[in-house]
């Protein structure tokens, strides 16, 4: 098993596009994947469980979107290679990689723009509904307008990737402007310590 994993890891190190994990870490990730799945590919629900348990993500919409961002070939499964490449950005991505990734997550219909409607969709749950207000969605609509005002540099009422990138470079906090799609520091640290370091000791 371990030898096979070593070989897999070596191959991956050579072929895969990821550049943030070293060989031992790759081995650990492979080990983690196989431990969990055996030889079956990871499906949506299992991936969502991991996101939920390990990274405290709760929003259905965004968890689905994260799944799609990982699932590059859109076969509704996450293969070992997709798993490793996805996590590489997810845990250790550079700002540029993360911008790319976050934009994919937020661009719900994949047309290359984040539209008003998409924003509304994603921000729908972000405000506590005040029963007193006449239009319960007013606050959300207002938030969408605020975001557009802040991020839509070319004033076409939607966010292109350039808009998004420029805004995040000016204000890094806006990387996750439409909801959590990346692990926070604590969870990331915990995951790395558990999956990447502990296994190394055992191996």
């Amino acid at each position: 098993m371990s030898k096979k994993n070593q070989k897999l890891a070596e191959d991956m190190l050579r072929t895969s596009s990821q550049k943030h994990f070293n060989k031992t870490e790759l081995e650990c990730l492979i080990h983690f994947y196989q431990n969990l799945m055996g030889h079956v590919k990871m499906d949506r629900n299992q991936f969502r469980d991991i996101l939920h348990q390990r990274f405290n993500m709760t929003e259905d919409l965004l968890m689905d979107r994260v799944f799609r961002a990982f699932d590059k070939d859109s076969d509704s499964f996450i293969s070992l290679i997709e798993w490793v490449e996805g996590l590489s950005i997810f845990l250790r991505g550079t700002q540029e990689e993360k911008i790319e990734y976050a934009f994919t997550v937020y661009d719900l219909n994949g047309d290359g723009y984040i539209s008003r409607e998409e924003m509304f969709q994603m921000l729908k749950t972000s405000l506590v509904k005040q029963p007193t207000e006449e239009d319960p969605d007013e606050g959300i609509k207002d938030l969408v307008e605020i975001t557009l005002k802040k991020m839509d540099h070319d004033h076409d009422s939607r966010l292109s990737k350039t808009d998004f990138r420029d805004s995040v470079i000016i204000e890094p906090l806006l990387l996750e402007a439409f909801g959590p799609c990346l692990p926070d520091e604590k969870c990331a640290c915990a995951f790395e310590n558990q999956v990447l370091v502990v296994k190394k000791h055992r191996g």
């Binding site: 994603m122 921000l123 749950t125 972000s126 405000l127 506590v128 005040q130 606050g139 207002d142 938030l143 605020i146 975001t147 005002k149 802040k150 204000e171 906090l173 806006l174 996750e176 402007a177 439409f178 909801g179 959590p180 926070d184 520091e185 604590k186």
Partner: protein
């Protein structure tokens, strides 16, 4: 009669010991007159009862002499007896060596008639000797008791069973007496309600109102008015407890426009000027009355100060209104004391007054103040308690108060007065005072509620709403959007505070979300440049949270927290809070800048922010010690070698601030920091140069340091700074450093070579005083050298120096006299000084200086 005598009559303070005297008060006067009238008319109205023989004689030391007695009396050598006798043959009146014994009211009436104008005195003496006359008249069973009086009922019972002539007489007598008692009480009541009895709350309200009128300008009624003591006892009095026994409420120092300061005692029975106070301790020296008792402060001031009367009458409507309100208040107090609910009356009075005054009132400002005053007058106890109980929350309280009412200068002023004087804040006194006092004084400037709020206000309010009611995502959007406002603008800063944004921002710091914390700190960092926001952040406990964040793993977070602390810790209380919550240690820990770190840029940034915060904190003496104990000096020494200007400024700033402590001066020398300071003197950044020069200024008190400065070639760059005549701060620091360095003769030689003296002489004209002090100090040191005296003369320094002798700045004068003195040892110089009349000036200085 018993009840009224026991309660209404004002006995002197020794009352209760048995030999009390009746006070000479108007109320007692009235009571006595009533009694006299009653007794005089008694015989006519109730002839039978007036013959009733007392169970025991009323006896007192009379002032009557035998000559007063006429017919119907047997006048003996030392004894006088009435011819009328009781059934047992005892005379109804006896006078035996000054002691008068009376057994019937009839005889009592005679005594009053005989004593003529002295009758009040006689009754007074009688009452003083017989505290409860009814006991003597009717027997011990009829003693006045405070609780339910059942004498009458017992009497009726007795009468029924016995129905004798005597007991019915007794009953009638008692009934009459009780009726009279009731009448007396009623008239007392009227009398009291007419009188103004001062209470602590009325005095406080008075002083507060007058404080709001006081000022230097000649059309204010008075210059200043203040309490002697900031301490308020739980009963709202300020007087010491042993003085409170005498009715004193508080002492007020009044500074009128015309005349000397004087001290007034406000006591329950009125206000009077007392024997004076100690200027330094503000303690009253002599509690005795000097002059009349006035019913309140305003009346007293009216009669004491013409200017006050004049100016106050300009506000006559105002004052009348005020006085009326006070009386209403007292009326209410009085009636509540006596258990008669008069709330409605009071309310109607006030509303009618208000409506009346509103018509007359033309100055809306004073009116507002008065309305405000009214609130205070009506519920003073609440407010004053809050002031006393919660000193710590006091600032908050006063803020809240300000929020409630648009203008309340007295409250604010008083609050800050407490803030500086309360014993709890004593800690503050120990701290160095070189920080700007005005910061403590800054009053809350608020817009009138009526004026239009800018559109930013509403937008910010909306954003704060999203901050409150949103999840992490909405919070971050709102935070980022808030940063788009011009946070350097006061309107936005105050808008954030006023809509409750500060609370939310500070609460966000307590969450687990680093992103929210970062977003929140970025805003707090900006708006904490505002003095009022700083205070609000400290009041809301923001410093404690930020100190905790300093330990975070996230470097961005550490940086932002330290920078915000640097901004907030610009006033003493905040600096103390940082220290008390272990902030100094954590800030010093930030200075650690690992040499071979992968993220060096970030580490430098963290160290810089730490130094910035320490710089702010180092303005308090205790913090200086704490910084040293936390091991900051070697770390600062290491950072001093840094190349980054933005790093060097806070580091040198901190060192410069701390160099006021000898321990730091020693450490700066031994850690080899002088060399680095000298190096940085040559920097191109004038702020850095200024702090370096200031640090050398402070450190060069020690000889070894002066020598080091010379050895490292620090004198040249110092002199090179002298032409910087437009940057006064830099110039002051540089000349200061030169002054201190010039204490060493070797340094003076170098200065001579550098032609510093000529340049210094050139600076003697048209410079601010803090520069002049240093320049003259330096010249004074240089002039110890004979050659330099010549140089000074040749450069034309003597006339300028002599001219400076006419100044008023003490520090400057000390240096100038020293310099002139040093120059005068040269005969040629002396002749110039003489010509310029310098000697006379020196003489005149001798008169008023130490």
């Amino acid at each position: 009669m018993g009840a009224s005598l026991a309660r209404a009559v004002q006995w002197t303070s020794v009352a209760g010991s048995g030999s009390g005297k009746l006070e000479l008060s108007p109320m007692n006067e009235k009571l006595l007159n009533d009694i006299i009238q009653f007794i005089e008319s008694f015989g006519g109205k109730h002839p039978e009862e007036s013959k009733y023989v007392f169970k025991e004689a009323l006896s007192w030391n009379t002032t009557l002499t035998a000559s007063a007695f006429g017919s119907g009396y047997d006048i003996g050598a030392s004894q006088i007896k009435s011819q009328d006798k009781d059934p047992n043959g005892v005379p109804l009146l006896e006078l035996d060596e000054g002691t008068l014994k009376v057994r019937t009211l009839d005889q009592a009436a005679n005594v009053i008639k005989m004593s003529k104008e002295k009758c009040t005195n006689e009754v007074r003496l009688c009452l003083e000797a017989n505290r409860d006359p009814l006991v003597k008249i009717l027997g011990a069973a009829y003693a006045t008791v405070d609780t339910e009086d059942s004498t009458l009922i017992r009497m009726v019972e007795k009468n029924k069973s016995e129905s004798s002539e005597e007991s019915s007489l007794l009953l009638r007598f008692l009934l009459i007496m009780q009726q009279f008692d009731m009448r007396l009480l009623n008239s007392c009541m009227q009398e009291i309600s007419k009188q103004v009895r001062l209470s602590p709350s009325t005095v406080n309200a008075d002083v507060a109102l007058l404080q709001s009128f006081a000022g230097e300008s000649p059309n204010t009624p008075l210059k200043n008015i203040k309490f002697t003591s900031p301490h308020v006892f739980s009963n709202e009095c300020r007087a010491l407890p042993w003085r409170q026994v005498h009715g004193d409420i508080c002492y007020v120092i009044i500074d009128p426009h015309d005349g000397e300061k004087f001290c007034v005692t406000a006591s329950t029975y009125g206000c009077f000027v007392n024997g004076g106070f100690n200027e330094d301790t503000l303690e009253v020296l002599d509690f005795e009355k000097r002059g009349e008792v006035y019913k309140d402060l305003v009346t007293l001031l009216r009669s004491k100060s013409n200017r006050f009367a004049e100016n106050i009458s300009k506000k006559v409507i105002t004052l009348q209104f005020y006085v009326r309100i006070i009386t209403c208040f007292i009326f209410q107090e009085f009636s509540s004391h006596h258990g008669t609910p008069r709330e409605t009356d009071k309310d109607t009075i006030i509303t009618s007054e208000l409506s009346m005054e509103n018509e007359k009132e033309d100055e809306s400002a004073t009116e507002k103040q008065l309305k405000n005053q009214k609130d205070k007058t009506l519920k003073p106890s609440l407010k004053w308690k809050s002031l006393e109980d919660s000193r710590k929350n006091e600032k908050e309280e006063s803020k809240k108060k300000k929020k409630k009412s648009t203008t309340s200068p007295p409250a604010g002023r008083r609050a800050s007065y407490y803030g500086r004087k309360t014993p709890q804040d004593e800690d503050d006194f120990s701290e160095s005072s070189d920080d700007s006092e005005e910061e403590e004084e800054v009053q809350d400037r608020r817009q009138d509620a009526g004026s239009d709020l800018p559109s930013e206000y509403w937008q910010i309010q909306k954003l704060v709403k999203y901050l409150k009611g949103g999840n992490q995502t909405a919070t971050i959007i709102a935070l980022c959007s808030m940063r788009d406002f011009n946070l350097a603008q006061e309107t936005c800063q105050l808008a954030i505070r006023d809509v409750g944004g500060l609370e939310v921002l500070i609460n966000l710091l307590d969450t687990d979300e680093n992103k929210c914390k970062i977003g929140s700190l970025k805003i707090l960092k900006e708006i904490s440049r505002n003095v009022q926001i700083r205070r609000a952040i400290a009041d809301l406990g923001g410093l404690q949270t930020m100190v905790k964040i300093l330990q975070s793993q996230n470097k961005d977070l550490k940086c932002l927290a330290a920078e915000t602390i640097a901004n907030v810790a610009k006033f003493r209380r905040a600096r103390r809070t940082v220290r008390q919550h272990g902030g100094i240690k954590k800030l010093v820990a930030l200075l650690e800048c690992p040499a071979n770190s992968c993220d060096a840029g970030k580490d430098v940034e963290v160290a810089r922010s730490g130094a910035l915060a320490l710089w702010s904190c180092s303005k308090s003496t205790k913090n200086k010690h704490a910084i040293r104990r936390a091991g900051a000096i070697p770390m600062l020494a290491k950072l001093l070698k840094s190349q980054h200007e933005e790093m060097l400024i806070p580091v040198v700033g901190t060192l410069q601030e701390c160099a006021s402590e000898p321990s730091y001066r020693l450490a700066i020398r031994t850690e080899g920091m002088i060399e680095d300071l000298v190096t940085n003197l040559k920097s191109s950044n004038s702020e850095l140069q200024m702090h370096c020069a200031a640090a050398i200024f402070k450190c060069a008190e020690d000889k070894a340091t002066r020598d080091l400065v010379r050895q490292y070639g620090g004198l040249d760059p110092l002199v090179a700074l002298l032409p910087q005549s437009d940057n006064k701060e830099l110039l002051a620091a540089a000349t200061g450093a030169i002054w201190k360095c010039a204490i060493s003769p070797q340094n003076v030689e170098r200065f001579q070579e550098l032609k510093a003296i000529e340049q210094l002489v050139g600076l003697l004209n048209d410079q601010p005083e803090d520069v002049l002090v240093n320049v003259v100090g330096a010249l004074g040191e240089c002039a110890q050298e004979p050659a330099n005296r010549l140089i000074i003369r040749k450069a034309g320094g003597i006339p300028s120096l002599v001219h400076l002798l006419t100044g008023t700045n003490q520090a400057l004068l000390v240096n100038v006299t020293k310099a002139v003195g040093a120059c005068a040892t040269e005969p040629e110089n002396m002749s110039i000084i003489d010509k310029l009349d310098g000697v006379r000036l020196l003489w005149s200085l001798l008169k008023n200086q130490n």
